[in-house]
Amino acid sequence: MTNDIEIKDKAAWDAAEKVADYEHGWSSDIETDFAPKGLNEDTVRFISAKKNEPEWMLEWRLKAFAMWKTMEAPDWAKLNVPPIDYQDAYYYAAPKAKPKLSSLDEVDPEILRVYEKLGIPIAEQKLLAGVEGGEVGGLPQRRVAVDAVFDSVSVATTFRAELERAGVIFRSISEAIKEYPDLVRKYLGKIVPMHDNYFATLNCAVFSDGTFVYIPEGVRCPMELSTYFRINAENTGQFERTLIVADKGSYVSYLEGCTAPMRDENQLHAAVVELVALDDAEIKYSTVQNWYPGDAEGKGGIYNFVTKRALCQGRNSKVSWTQVETGSAVTWKYPSCVLNGENSVGEFYSVAVTNNYQQADTGTKMIHNGKGSRSTIVSKGISAGHSNNTYRGLVRVAPNAEGVRNFTQCDSLLLGSLSGAHTVPYIEVRNPSAQIEHEATTSKISDDQMFYAMARGLNAEEAVALIVNGFAKEVLQQLPMEFAVEAQKLLGISLEGSVG
């Protein structure tokens, strides 16, 4: 099997090299353990066994799998997705386990190359690669704790000791299931229930890894937490699961970055992210999604079907989603807030860029159950090439929720004449005291703007990048500084070839 894969890798790589630039489009020849191809009860058992999971976890997975078999894929989004053959994929791929190493020299150079490309500092690289003593020897300049998820497994998490001193739990979800079963059981599947939707149910059955975060009462997490997701192996679906619990009066800022190699076939990514904020707690969740989008003809790319939801359970709790979505062939994603707490706050800031034949149907749901709860939605969609970009959002106010406020702004920017922008806002208000505002605009980059910028010395691509960054500014300024710089560059790169 190993030989077979290497040959396929080569072919995919050669094909991929011919297509448009994709900075993260490298794949790595790392020895990989696969589950047998296909999806059945044995696959679910295999994954659970690989992770040495407790019995309750296996039962939960099997229940989800039985449920999933009775469900159908949703078709209400404005997406054109060919039927997915769930039997033609691997549901578990992991870099082969290695014994403890004593220095970086012993680490598979391919894995190091991956970390380097991801921009992970050396001290953290040591830790990620499992070099003993990697945590000693001074702190890296960049104060971000990282959980790296490589295909189906978390490779390692960093800064664990320092976080533990603050009482923060930052673990791969597989470890957390074993080490903190009570905490995990209390919240897993409670924000996004098992039966929520087709892809979420599938995730419950086959999720392989992800991140677990717990911030104890009154603690402000001393650094930003971050997860890198990387799909590396071919024909492999990635189903990660993230659970973040912010206890009373706590604060955490969490960053999520994603990349995948260029491959001819489509790969499935179906993640579930659950957030819980108790009284006076705040979670800031930022995503830069840069999965491989497919080539200029629409071949290949990631199918990104993601369920993200936050429960603002406590009084004055707050969750802020910020996303920059530039990658994936298909994006189906609605990070949402269930605002149960009195005076709780939900925010959604989104930039979604589609180019060539990419399709994105993304937005948010703000469910106002708590009195005085407030939400802000700012969505910026940018469509170029032959792509389609849809904002789909729901603002719902429950009958007992007095004094709710929502402000929604949806702006679409079109490049060229072959792309599409669509806005589908649903507003359901059952309490007359609610104040709901919705603003929407659609515009094109004008010839006047382009020429003005070019007459001052910018080439066509620089001019587009500048104008688009200006358009998306309100969202970009919500990102943590280092992510904002990366995101700005990414917007420019994603739109390369879309003008002139």
Binding site: D447, Q449, A455, R456
Partner: protein
């Protein structure tokens, strides 16, 4: 510095410039005047390379270089600046960011090192100050919410920061009150009245020429230069109008 020879240009299918010949030397300020529809703005756009303005005949050299072979941003890097009649708004992009990126793109093209944030702000502060514009305006998005006069003043600040060899100023005087006219006129003199620079002023009216004294005045009519003279020609036009002249 700039040599335009027998220039013919179309906008769409319509011929606008029909054999225009004009020569500018370093150290000179030329004014181009003419009635509506004579092709004045077209000349500015053709020289700066606006898409949709097609040259059908003739040549333009700029410091010995074939100007027409260059892209708009390459012309800017080569030292050509177009002051817009209607400066364009770019929401979300501050003047500072816009100009720093533009200037550094030009410098990169010319093989020069980019200016750091601090170096750039020093230059920007000087130029804005000289034109009576406060730094808060420079931090605002490009031309968004600016009055007509502020937009024109902003064009002059941009010209000061970019410091071009040749400025083509398209009706920079339109929409200005008397005080603003004087400020803009002073700006043009200060920035461009130098032995190694040249200016092509496109204007309807003589009044800007009270502040910026041209070395030559040309009448553009029907797509070509029909008359050339000194500063006194502008006064004559003001008195008699273009119709009289054509007769």
């Amino acid at each position: 510095m700039l040599q335009i020879t027998n220039l013919h240009a179309n906008v769409g299918d319509k011929p606008i410039l029909k054999g225009l010949t004009l020569s500018l030397n370093a150290g000179e300020i030329h004014a181009i005047m003419g009635p509506n529809g004579a092709g004045k703005s077209t000349l500015g756009y053709v020289l700066s390379g606006r898409p949709g303005y097609e040259v059908t005949e003739g040549s333009v050299t700029f410091n010995g270089q074939d100007l027409l072979a260059l892209e708009p941003h390459e012309r800017a890097a080569a030292g050509l600046f177009l002051g817009f009649q209607y400066p364009v708004e770019i929401p979300g992009v501050s003047n500072v960011q816009f100009l720093r990126e533009a200037l550094n793109a030009q410098r990169k093209y010319r093989g020069e090192a980019p200016l750091s944030g601090g170096e750039f702000l020093k230059v920007a502060r000087e130029q804005a100050g000289a034109l009576g514009m406060d730094m808060d305006m420079l931090k605002r998005p490009v031309n968004v919410g600016f009055s007509g006069g502020e937009k024109k003043r902003n064009e002059m600040v941009q010209m000061g920061i970019i410091d071009p060899a040749l400025a083509i100023l398209d009706e920079t005087d339109s929409g200005l009150d008397i005080d603003a006219l004087r400020t803009v006129g002073d700006g043009i003199n200060r920035i461009m009245r130098k032995p190694d620079k040249a200016v092509l002023l496109i204007t309807h009216y003589q009044r800007l020429l009270d502040y910026v004294k041209p070395d030559f005045v040309h009448v553009l009519d029907g797509g070509r230069i029909t008359r050339t003279g000194g500063a006194e020609l502008a006064l004559e036009l003001e008195r008699d109008g273009y119709k009289e002249l054509a007769a």
